[in-house]
Amino acid sequence: MPPTTDLLQGTLDMLILKTLGPGPEHGWAIAQRIQQMSEDVLQIGQGSLYPALHRLEYRGWIRAQWGASENNRRARFYSLTAAGRRQLDAELANWERLTGAVNLVLQHA
């Protein structure tokens, strides 16, 4: 198993919301997308992906619908809700503040 990087709690939620920004995706594609975009640094354990998706759905930030995948198989597609979009903006802003602050410390210490 390739080495995984521990994600900060809540970061996975943000990544999922960000991934869903362009449009609906199913779970596998979300995991692939995160993996590709992070150049294989972030590998989402499926054991945490699906609970996270369900949690987000329960909170009303994403919506799930059954649809057909590329090769015409039944799959659950997740998409952002309006509340989810607001949540994403809030988390991104928060993240930028946090990383900015950490960077500042690292540069000057």
Partner: protein, 909 residues
């Protein structure tokens, strides 16, 4: 935030299928496998790699499940089950706690239900928020017929011509309705009885949107001309209880001897636009002459007798409507002023310039009684809130004691990894369970308590009560909120003791009990209980003294062996000319009965908050300017003063020599004589009359002692008695019969005597004078009764609560006591030690409570009579009682502790 809750709620209700989760996970696995195959692996290898990368499927499934919001409900169910088991294990404690709560919640629900009905609830009509009550500021000239409820600048009685003008010329109401009460005789199937009637405008029912239960209701065409439409609508309850639900539409009943056609029955639940009025029948207002034969109100601008209620047009506010209608009202007042005799500047200012029409929120309807009952109700509500506060502290302290002995249990649970949050949840679950059980039991008790209380309130009146004993949603909501608040409070009490970061450590170190962690908390509980109960006991004491004082007031005449009843020949259809003669015959018939010491009658009932007053012109007396001296003006029979036993001061009583043709005579009381003439003797021979009414002129022939008239609370008013037979108008009378035997026993022979005069005559509401006084002081009696109940309840609760805490803390000190006794302390010394501690605690609590009590009792001052709100005797007894309770509660555990064998005590722990 809200959308999140909705989303959670949706899933909580709809849930999610297990199969769907499985399908989704399977789909993922397959895609992963395909990707691996595409990367060049063999199918078997690809599947193996995919499965490895996926990790445990069962765990993923489980975690998906735990993400569900439902999960916390399941946990709650677990908590409740656990709590139930815990409570059952300790059932004695649970029973006491539930009973305590049930009593408190039941009392609160009962009182709140009454308060809601009297002060909060809207009339049972369509869109009550559109209704406004009309009242006005401005002088009146003439006769006002009021049931009360007026205040400065708010007269609620209008004249009929004024009403007609307002109704036809306003642009703000979709309907303006009028009603006035009358007491009438109703004859149905040759059975005559007295009943209340309401004279209403033709648009009354349609504006309120009340529907008929059968037939039709009154309509505008029924209000055409005086006396033109003798039709009646029955109240549903009256139809059910008095007419046996007979098919009545189209049939005839007699109202004051005049036939009326019944056209319908109003919908159940509806009584009147005036809260507190319970009419049996509704008739067109134009039938006034039949219902109140002695007056002609309909064309009189200066007879103020009807209450008005308006329904605002849609989108009209009371403020805008008030501004819009003001010019109309003032112009009507101007027109009325032109008819008056006094055309002075001052009169104009009072009558027109300073007049104003008020439109006040009328969803609850006007009520002549609401202002009178508000304070008593709020006082009683305050008391029951104290009771529930008391119960909360009580259960909290019981829980605290119980929690303290559960130290080991909590230690184990902490050791097993329970978090503070979980322990807290568990405590809350226990508390809410107790609260729920208490609420259910309390609610079960409430309707019965309510029924008893309503019955108690309506003692002395034969009529049904305005209050109903059913609980509505508002009351249930109140109970729910009260229970929730109390439960959270008392379940958090032990939690406050546990919930500290160091708790887990503390528990690990102590094997058995959590002692000393919150001695202060426990003391606060004891203090609060003593404080609450002292407040309630003092309140009870003040009201009990008030009621004894009121009962022992001497009104100026003996009230025993005195029977009263009302007789109004008009109710039996007597024309005006026949009324006084038949009343005289009734007096003679009763006087001739054996066992009757004397009989008298008056049109101005004694000690029942009734009054007939006005100003008088006195010969030889020039009133100072702006003098507004009102005098009580009863019309009495010649035997009235002697029968009551009002002592004569000067001159003579009325006698048989005062006939229809002799000089008109009057008797005044001392207060009257002193005000106008300086002394009783100086009053004799002077003449008294009503201003502008020379026919009322009478010569003063006697002066009698002052007697209390309207109520035992109020001092005597200046009074001018004249003979009813010589009065301007005829009137119904209240008869007073002084008997030799107990007065109740005379009722039947009285009825028989009246029936011999004329069987159509109705002997209305026979009762003893003492019962009349009881009705007069009804509010005080009810408060006193409730206050005493709550006071006893509080003392009892305090006893239980104190015992619980003291029993526990004494048990905690078994070891210390053992040492003391081993060192030679005597048992009495040990008991004394503990009791002394209790007394010190009680002393501190009392010292803190007394200033609070002194402040709180300020609020009830208006309801007290003859006792100061800081009455030392009441406070002394209260303190004594509460200290006694504290000592008893402390003595029992103290004695038990002192009987312990020192050796055993030392070996504990």
């Amino acid at each position: 935030m809200l959308s999140e809750w909705f989303s959670r709620l949706r899933f909580l209700i709809a849930g999610k299928k297990r199969a769907a989760v499985d399908e989704e996970l399977q789909f993922h696995l397959e895609l992963e496998t395909e990707a691996n195959v595409a990367a060049g692996m063999s199918p078997a290898e690809a599947r193996r790699r995919a499965a490895i990368a996926f990790g445990s499927r069962e765990r993923a499934r489980e975690e998906c499940r735990e993400a569900r919001p439902v999960w916390s409900l399941e946990a709650l169910g677990r908590d409740v089950r656990y709590a139930l088991r815990g409570l059952l294990r300790n059932s004695g404690f649970a029973v006491i706690a539930v009973l305590t709560l049930a009593l408190a919640i039941g009392a609160n629900t009962t009182i709140f239900s009454l308060l809601d009905q009297a002060l909060i609830r809207a009339l049972p009509v369509k869109d009550p928020q559109q209704l406004v009550v009309l009242s006005f500021a401005g002088d009146t000239d003439g006769h006002t017929h009021s049931e009360g409820g007026n205040s400065l600048g708010h007269r609620h009685e209008f004249s009929y011509p004024m009403y007609l003008d307002l109704r036809s010329r306003n642009k703000v109401f979709s309907g303006l309705i009028a009603a006035a009460p009358a007491s009438v005789g109703v004859t149905w199937n040759n059975q005559a009885e007295s009943a209340s009637a309401e004279m209403v405008s033709g648009n009354y029912f349609e504006t309120l949107d009340v529907r008929p239960a059968m037939g039709r209701l009154l309509q505008p065409s029924d209000e055409s001309a005086p006396g033109a439409n003798p039709v009646a609508v029955l109240n549903f309850d009256f139809w059910r209880t008095h007419l046996g639900e007979a098919p009545v539409v189209g049939r005839t009943l007699l109202v004051n001897g005049t036939p009326f056609t019944i056209v319908g029955v109003a919908a159940p639940g509806f009584h009147s636009m005036v809260f507190g009025r319970l009419p049996a029948i509704y008739v067109p207002i134009t039938e006034q002459k039949v219902l109140i034969p002695e007056w002609d109100f309909l064309n009189d601008h200066s007879s103020y007798w009807i209450n008005l209620l308006g329904r605002l047009r849609p989108n009209m506010t009371a403020a805008r409507a008030s501004a819009a209608i003001h010019p109309l009202f003032v112009s009507l007042r101007e027109a009325e002023f032109a008819l008056l005799k006094d055309q002075s500047e001052k009169a104009l200012a009072g009558f027109v310039t300073n007049s104003r029409l008020n439109l006040d929120a009328g969803a609850r309807g006007f009520s002549p009684m609401r202002d009178d009952v508000r304070t008593p109700f709020l006082i009683v509500m305050g008391m029951v809130l104290l009771v529930i506060g008391m119960a909360t502290v009580n259960v909290a302290s019981l829980l605290l004691v119980r929690a303290a002995t559960r130290g080991r249990e909590f230690s184990v649970r902490f050791a097993l990894g329970a978090t503070n949050g979980q322990i807290l949840r568990q405590l809350l679950a226990e508390g809410l369970l107790l609260g729920a059980a208490g609420a259910v039991l309390g609610l079960a008790l409430a309707p019965e308590a309510l029924r008893l209380l309503i019955h108690g309130i309506s003692t002395g009146s034969e009529h049904e009560s305005v209050f109903s004993a059913t609980l509505d949603w508002r009351v249930l909501l109140f109970t729910l909120l009260a229970t929730l608040a109390a439960s959270v409070l008392f379940s958090l009490a032990p939690a406050a003791q546990f919930w500290s970061p160091k708790l887990a450590d503390a528990l690990r170190q102590q094997s058995g009990t959590v002692s000393g962690t919150s001695l202060r908390f426990r003391r606060t509980c004891v203090g609060l209980q003593i404080g609450f109960s002292l407040l309630l006991i003092v309140g009870a004491g003040l009201f009990v003294r008030t009621i004894t004082n009121l009962r022992s007031v001497y009104p100026g005449f003996a009230t025993d062996h005195l029977l009263a009843f009302n007789l109004d020949p008009a109710m039996a259809g007597y024309p005006a000319a026949g009324v006084a003669p038949v009343e005289q015959r009734a007096l003679d018939a009763i006087a001739a009965l054996p066992g009757v010491r004397g009989v008298g009658a008056t049109n101005d009932q004694d000690l029942s908050d009734d009054g007939r007053s006005g100003d008088v012109k006195v010969s030889g007396y020039t009133p100072p300017p702006n003098d507004d001296y009102d005098v009580e003006l009863p019309w009495v029979s010649d035997g009235y003063l002697q029968t009551l036993g009002v002592p004569l001061v000067a001159g003579r009583y009325f006698n048989a020599g005062d006939t229809a043709t002799s000089q008109k005579v009057a008797i005044v009381n001392e207060r009257f004589a002193k005000h106008f003439f300086g002394s009783a003797a100086a009053a004799l021979g002077h003449h008294v009359s009503r201003p502008e009414r020379p026919g009322t002129d009478a010569m003063i022939v006697g002066v009698v002692k002052d007697v209390k008239h309207s109520s035992v609370r109020d001092p005597a008013s200046p009074t001018d008695y004249t003979l009813f037979a010589r009065a301007e108008r005829t009137t119904g009378l209240t008869f007073y019969v002084r008997t030799w035997q107990p007065p109740d026993a005379a009722t039947n022979s009285l009825r028989a005597a009246i029936a011999r005069v004329d069987s159509k005559l109705i002997v209305n509401d026979p009762r003893t004078m003492t019962a009349d006084i009881d009705v007069d002081i009804q509010a005080e009696r009810t408060i006193a009764l409730l206050a005493t109940t709550f006071g006893v309840m509080a003392a009892l609760l305090a006893g239980i609560g104190l015992y619980g805490i003291l029993a526990y803390s004494t048990a905690q000190r078994t070891r210390e006591i053992g040492i003391r006794m081993a060192m030679g302390a005597r048992r009495s010394a040990v008991v004394g030690l503990i009791v002394r501690e209790v007394l010190v605690l009680a002393g501190i609590a009392v010292a803190v409570t007394i200033p609070v009590a002194l402040l709180a009792t300020q609020a009830i001052r208006s309801q007290l009579f003859g006792v100061s709100s800081a009455d030392p005797a009441v406070y002394g007894v209260g303190i004594l009682v509460i200290c006694l309770v504290a000592v008893i509660a402390g003595l029992v555990p103290a004695r038990r502790a002192a009987t312990v064998d020192p050796a055993t005590a030392l070996r504990t722990e």
